[in-house]
């Protein structure tokens, strides 16, 4: 499994084949891999930055494997919800490249602040993918250690994590951890809908004036639940950054290579003390907002079909096949691995124990409190009043 850092290796780099100079499609969009799977050698951004990647064959295959696994595990979670095993699930279908590209661009020391849909980033951070399922099954609070994995807890409140990330990033500066290759950068994930939140705009202001080492990573999946983008903004979202005084750029969020290149550049700027930036990863939520939502009520099938043609995984597969980086045996092996991991995920979810009722008192304060101790004792006595009680 390619859990390593594809960009860090210097062995056997592969120059982009069939190089094309021009940016295809929207000139405002950084793209290195077209929907047909054709590589674009490099793209020069509006500020003169040249975006490019040169990965080894192994790294290209690793990214493909990440994308497929992340999608398969997500589909399994959706199925588990339909079967009554999860209360809810927010699928990332269609956004795999935005998440894997940015997740793999993070260096080990970087800190990430997710929403509740960043299952792909979570996977790239090396966290067991079952973790969020415990949260959505209602048996735990999503119990990974944010400090160990440098990946904060899922935040359900829309946009709130951008403020947490800003404060954290300001702390990184105060600790003197920026200004070099080994500097620490912070990334805050949010969606197009969150850009209308006060929290996000406040985070923009604070990060800007305190020059926080922070990358605002907006996955613009076109819908804030049912609200389309044209009800969210009158300018492309990435241009909002200019008003706050830091750079903004739009990347093809269905292109894992471009997302990687743009995010890596923005993170490096931040870690060197160059301050915040905004990335708008232009993508599409192929599924429902959550399993409680019916997207057919607010968007038309032809729009979904148009985005289907821009699938993030199909283009990588086409590229790998065309450049003979991978063969049918590799694709079959990845599919088989995905199937096995999905079955494993399912089995482990079904075995997740229900928590003991008294554990709800455990994580309120780090060192407990006398009042809580009293309540816990009362509640235990109540539970013990039943027959067959284990207490």
């Amino acid at each position: 499994m390619a859990k390593g850092d594809p960009g860090a290796s210097t062995r056997g780099r592969r120059a982009a084949p069939r190089s094309r100079k021009a940016v295809t499609g929207d000139p405002e969009l950084v793209q290195l891999l077209t929907p047909a799977g054709e590589r674009i050698e490099s793209v020069t951004g509006p500020d003169g930055t040249v975006y490019r990647v040169d990965f080894t064959d192994e790294e290209y295959r690793g990214l493909y494997r990440d994308l497929v696994l992340v999608r398969k595990l997500d589909a399994e979670a959706t199925a588990l919800q339909r079967q009554g095993e999860l209360g809810l699930w927010a699928s990332l279908l269609g956004q795999e490249a935005a998440q894997v590209g940015s997740g793999r661009a993070l260096r080990a020391q970087d800190m990430a602040f997710p929403t509740y849909r960043e299952h792909g980033v979570l996977y790239c951070r090396g966290i067991d993918p079952i973790m969020p399922l415990g949260l959505f099954r209602g048996v735990d609070q999503g119990g990974w250690d944010p400090n160990e994995f440098k990946f904060n807890m899922y935040t359900i409140v829309i946009g709130a994590q951008t403020l947490h990330a800003t404060g954290y990033a300001m702390g990184v500066t105060m600790d003197g951890k920026t200004g070099g290759e080994d500097g620490e950068a912070v990334i805050a994930y949010f969606g197009d809908g969150a850009t209308s939140q006060g929290d996000v705009n406040e985070a923009f202001v604070w990060a800007s004036v305190f020059n926080a080492p922070l990358v605002f990573f907006c996955q613009n999946n076109q819908y804030a639940i049912s609200e389309p983008l044209e009800r969210q903004t009158r300018v492309p979202l990435y241009r909002r950054a200019a008003g706050f005084g830091f750079p903004g750029i739009r990347v093809d969020g269905n292109d894992v290579l471009a997302t990687y290149a743009v995010t890596r550049h923005a993170l490096d700027n931040a870690r060197h003390g160059q301050g915040p930036s905004l990335i708008e990863a232009y993508t599409y939520r192929m599924g429902a907002h959550t399993t409680s939502d019916d997207p057919t009520r607010y968007r038309i099938a032809s729009e979904v079909e148009a985005w289907q043609a821009k699938d993030p995984i199909a283009r990588v597969k086409a590229f790998l096949e065309r450049e003979k980086i991978a063969d049918a045996g590799f694709f079959a092996e990845v599919d088989e691995q995905a199937r096995r991991e999905a079955v494993d995920l399912r089995e482990r979810v079904l075995e997740m124990p229900n928590p003991e009722p008294v554990t709800m008192f455990d994580h309120v304060y780090p060192n407990g409190s006398p009042l809580l101790d009293q309540q816990r004792a009362q509640f235990s006595r109540y539970l013990e009043s039943f027959e067959g009680s284990a207490h």
Binding site: E76, R82, Q83, E85, L88, D293, V304, S385, E387
Partner: protein, 497 residues
């Protein structure tokens, strides 16, 4: 663990209590894989496919298509090890609804403790009414026995909230109260309704929880005389009026909805509004009260068109094609749209979106209710392709397999009310569309033809359109063109294409 596993209908959204089985995608005896779609279920939120939780062989299907099933009820039994030989007919293995399957119709012992309609009291679907979100189920819930106490489930302890002189509900045994019991005091005044203030008619005064209680008990507030302040109706008034059915009510609510009309003692039937009916109602109200509708009528002689259809049917290459008058109407509409593109548009607040493509909606009456699937980009189709698309659309709709994608994105609609034998109507626009054409029955009528009254095949067209976008002139020209085509299709084709 038994090798036969029952799958219970899960809560597919957040806080849903029931779902309607739209279509079974598997049948008894089928071998199925893990996560294979087995059933399509429509809830208040969405129609979704449910993937199989286990691989194996379908042993039994408990609910036919079209039934509404409570969340938590078994819907299918799957033999997870079909290769292991025949199944012993032990109780645990019987492919019949287990106790849990039937539990949904039991009344939980504690249900009488809190009044319906109060927070914490029972709500429809066997759940507990809570302020926000969905509460715990009260049906099929088994209270754990307390230590050092005799089983006491049958003892009903009146809760403190159960105030007032209303008679305590009878012990909630399984048997419902005899239906012969006449409600003690439903006031059905012969005189005009007088409310507490002595005013005749006007709004009824009652607090929201009391209204909720009345709704739950099926009591019509307008028939009551209030005893509260300012003549408002109190909780007790409602109980008095609905005292007899209070115990029977949850039972009736939990029983599967019967398709046959089942009238209560008041000779009224209450049908829950949900699924397609609810969506239809919302769409129609929204459209009727936001888009200013105008309807115009045109009666045309379609004798020539019907003869043209006959000639079409007679052609060898059209032998297997279903050719209906609707096909010509669809063609007429598509040609007329080309001449008047503004008709195919959407009002979007500060702009009008005119579409080059026509997703032609056809209103269809199905067992699920009114649905309007559409033919995508119908303007690009040849007549033959259009005929095939119409046939496919109707068959899919009749089979109840129309997908949400088929129904979304319509731009212009035809409703074929003629099939019911009526002349015309004033159709309501589907939301987002600005014109809808009603096609009435084609019948032989006296008609002035070449200076003489002759029996001719005549039909009436009605066009409703959104007057914000389409002026009378445009609407009239469009309708006239549709009529011209149906009067003489050959000439219109020559003239326009």
């Amino acid at each position: 663990m038994s090798r036969i596993k029952e799958f219970n209908l899960p809560d597919l959204g957040e806080g849903l209590t029931e779902g309607e089985i739209l279509a079974w995608l598997v049948k008894v005896g089928d071998t199925i894989e893990l996560n294979q779609p087995i059933v399509e279920v429509e809830t208040a939120k969405a129609a979704v496919e449910i993937p199989a939780k286990w691989a194996g062989q379908v042993q039994a299907i408990f609910h036919p298509e079209g039934t509404t099933v409570e969340v938590g009820t078994p819907i299918i039994a799957i033999d997870t090890d079909p290769g292991a030989g025949p199944i012993e007919k032990s109780a645990a293995n019987l492919p019949t609804p287990s106790a849990a399957a039937l539990a949904a119709v039991e009344v939980a012992p504690a249900e009488g403790m809190v009044e319906p309609g109060l927070i914490g009291g029972p709500a429809p679907g066997g759940r507990t009414a809570v302020l926000v979100g969905y509460g715990p189920r009260t049906t099929a819930a088994k209270r754990r026995p307390r230590k050092n106490s005799a089983p006491a489930q049958t003892t009903v302890i009146p809760a403190p909230t159960h105030a007032g002189p209303a008679p305590a509900p009878a012990a909630p045994t399984a048997a419902p109260a005899a239906p012969t019991a006449v409600p003690a005091a439903p006031v059905v005044p012969a005189a005009p309704v007088v409310n507490g203030n002595g005013r005749v008619g006007g709004p009824v005064l009652a607090k929201p929880p009391v209204r909720k209680l009345a709704k739950d008990l099926g009591v019509d507030l307008r028939t009551l005389t209030g005893s509260g302040p300012l003549g408002s109706i109190t909780r007790e008034d409602v109980h008095r009026a609905g005292s007899a059915p209070t115990v029977a009510e949850p039972l009736a609510a939990a029983a599967p909805a019967s398709s046959a009309a089942s009238f209560g003692a008041d000779r009224e039937q209450r049908i829950p509004v949900k699924g397609v009916r609810k969506l239809t109602a919302e769409n129609m109200s929204r459209s009727a009260f936001t888009a200013p509708h105008v309807t115009e009528f045109l009666t045309v002689d379609v004798t020539r068109a019907m003869k043209a259809l006959d000639r079409l049917r007679g052609r060898r290459e059209w032998r297997d094609v279903r050719v209906s008058p609707l096909l010509l109407v669809a063609k007429a509409v598509l040609l007329a749209v080309k001449r008047h593109p503004m008709v195919n548009s959407t009002w979007a607040g500060d702009e009008i979106v005119v579409k080059e493509y026509v997703n032609l909606g056809i209103a269809a009456a199905t067992e699920r209710g009114l649905i309007v699937p559409n033919i995508k980009d119908a303007g690009q189709l040849t007549l033959r392709e259009l005929a095939d698309a119409l046939t496919g659309l109707v068959q899919t709709a009749k089979a109840g397999k129309t997908s949400p994608a088929d129904m979304s994105g319509g731009t212009l609609t035809i409703t074929n009310v003629g099939v019911f034998g009526v002349d015309t109507g004033t159709p309501i626009l589907p939301p987002g569309e600005s014109a809808i054409l009603a096609f009435g029955a084609v019948r032989e009528q006296p008609w002035v033809h070449k200076g003489k009254v002759k029996p001719r095949l005549v039909t009436t067209l009605a066009l409703s359109f959104d007057h914000r976008i389409i002026d009378g002139e445009l609407g009239s020209k469009f309708l006239r063109d549709v009529g011209d085509f149906l009067t003489d299709p050959e000439a219109a084709l020559l003239a326009w294409t």
